[in-house]
Subunit: 299 residues, 2 copies
């Protein structure tokens, strides 16, 4: 009988659950609203029901969950993530293991996406891949020889809190001058609201910039300067074989990439210029759920 994996991508808005082959091929996907405002018990009950349906149809070997951080991957516990209000110290892995009688592993959503992009996505075949997601926040994951490097405290890849500047907006947990506070979608949105009076999301600023609106161009340029500093810092720390960029902000990749690459090169040691591979993610919104399933196959 063929063996499969179950991946769960638990987001603040969407809950995706998918059946995936051992090689990371997506076979079947269920996509519902998380309804996180109804609390963890409602969401987990719903999650278990969907899983039960999928488990009946196929021979599922193990279940992997990608969830918003902070979390304790070793113990499988969700620890008060800002994107899941009310989820305080929820032992999600244990709860699913009991209900579904399968091995369950938990890691943060950026690590799950990093694993998928590094092993079967844009970074396939590369010895080391650093994945960054640039969205509401900035997160990442580091994959070396197809193994996720979680770090001593499961905080490897948490580059959103990397400092690239002395000043910047204050935040309840991020450092002043942090990459996330200066180069995320939220940073672009904040400046777009202040300087352009936009009412929607950060995408509006990118659209205005693409259409040549000067103030919008300046906002994006500033954001990309900080992003380039962050990427250059990662290169000078681990010099990965590829940097893969994903997340909502990369929907504007045609506009962003040429500017970003030029800026990154300017911040690199001369011998590194034009030699660092920086690519856009290739699995789109499926990276999280596929990567969650692949978490179960890590040594």
């Amino acid at each position: 009988m063929d063996r499969y994996l179950l991946g769960i991508d638990l987001g603040g808005t969407n809950l995706r659950i998918a059946v995936v082959t051992l090689e990371g091929k997506l076979i079947e996907e269920v996509n519902v609203k998380t309804e996180s405002d109804k609390g963890p018990h409602h969401v987990i009950d719903n999650m278990i029901k969907i899983c039960e349906g999928l488990l009946q149809k196929r021979n599922i070997e193990a279940i992997g969950i990608g969830a918003p951080g902070p979390l304790d991957s070793k113990q499988g516990i969700i620890l008060s993530p800002p994107n899941l209000p009310g989820w305080d110290e929820v032992p999600l892995a244990l709860m699913l293991e009991k209900a579904l009688e399968k091995k369950v592993v938990l890691d943060n959503d950026a690590n799950a996406a990093a694993l998928a992009e590094a092993t079967i996505g844009a970074g396939k075949g590369k010895e080391s891949v650093f994945y960054m997601t640039i969205s509401t926040g900035i997160g990442g994951g580091y994959v070396y020889r197809n193994q996720l490097i979680q770090g001593a405290n499961f905080c490897a890849g948490e580059v959103g809190n990397m400092m690239v500047n002395r000043d910047g907006p204050t935040h309840y947990v991020l450092n002043i001058g942090s990459l996330e506070s200066l180069a995320s979608g939220t940073a672009v949105h904040r400046l777009g609201k202040e300087k352009l009076g936009i009412t929607g999301h950060a995408g509006e600023v990118f659209t205005l910039a693409m259409n040549g609106q000067q103030e919008a161009e300046a906002i994006v340029d500033t954001m990309l300067t900080y992003l380039a500093k962050g990427i250059s810092n990662i290169v000078h720390t681990i010099d990965p074989h590829m940097i893969v960029l994903g997340g909502g902000v990369m929907q504007s990749k045609e506009y962003i990439m040429p500017i970003l690459l030029e800026k990154v090169n300017a911040y690199l040691y001369p011998q590194l210029r034009n030699r660092v591979q920086i690519e856009c993610a290739s699995l789109g919104t499926k990276a999280g759920v596929i990567g969650a399933a692949l978490l179960t196959q890590q040594a």
Copy 2:
């Protein structure tokens, strides 16, 4: 017959050559002035003579060299390092291989020291170790499961060029706001000269600070703020099991460490505070030559 390794630590000032066991125990060491002003041929001839003497006495399996960067580790070529004027594209590994008929490997001096500290020094037994040397410059190396991670372009660990600030002194190759330009011995020396009129080296500033001289304290405090930002950035990128600090500046470790640790913790995500292990190097000036020998044993 017992098997040994030869390590060569080629510095701008000192040339150390040592016989080391396969486990990294130092057996015999020759320490001479490099005389780098007499050019590469003089230095290499001298190096070969010392090696020949050591090779006659013991069964040497392979030779490893740690040298100032930039260099091409794969091809064994020294590429115009600022600390070895006149060494332009010198195929050092090949030259020694021909003269001594042994396998020769070359890597940068910080990587060599990192390997020694991570495997038999302060970081022994840790899954992942990031070593930083804070001296005239700032360099580093990343060791994961006893293997040096060199990076796609042999630039892993080059954290001296990491940007931690928007401004700072200009430099012919380093980024403005780079860690090395703000937190190295050179940075302390520059400020000591400007603000205190010191005539010797950076150590004077540390001595004054230890004796409570307020301006010296302020210089060291500023330098440690930047160093703490750099360390925190490394933690939020790879979350190593230990950070090991070496280099000349660490001679003032009793004064530096309490201040530095407090600053690092303030820049970490709350869940990381007081959980990151930061230790001083334990092999002293021997790390480079021992690590050079151990380079030959890398997979």
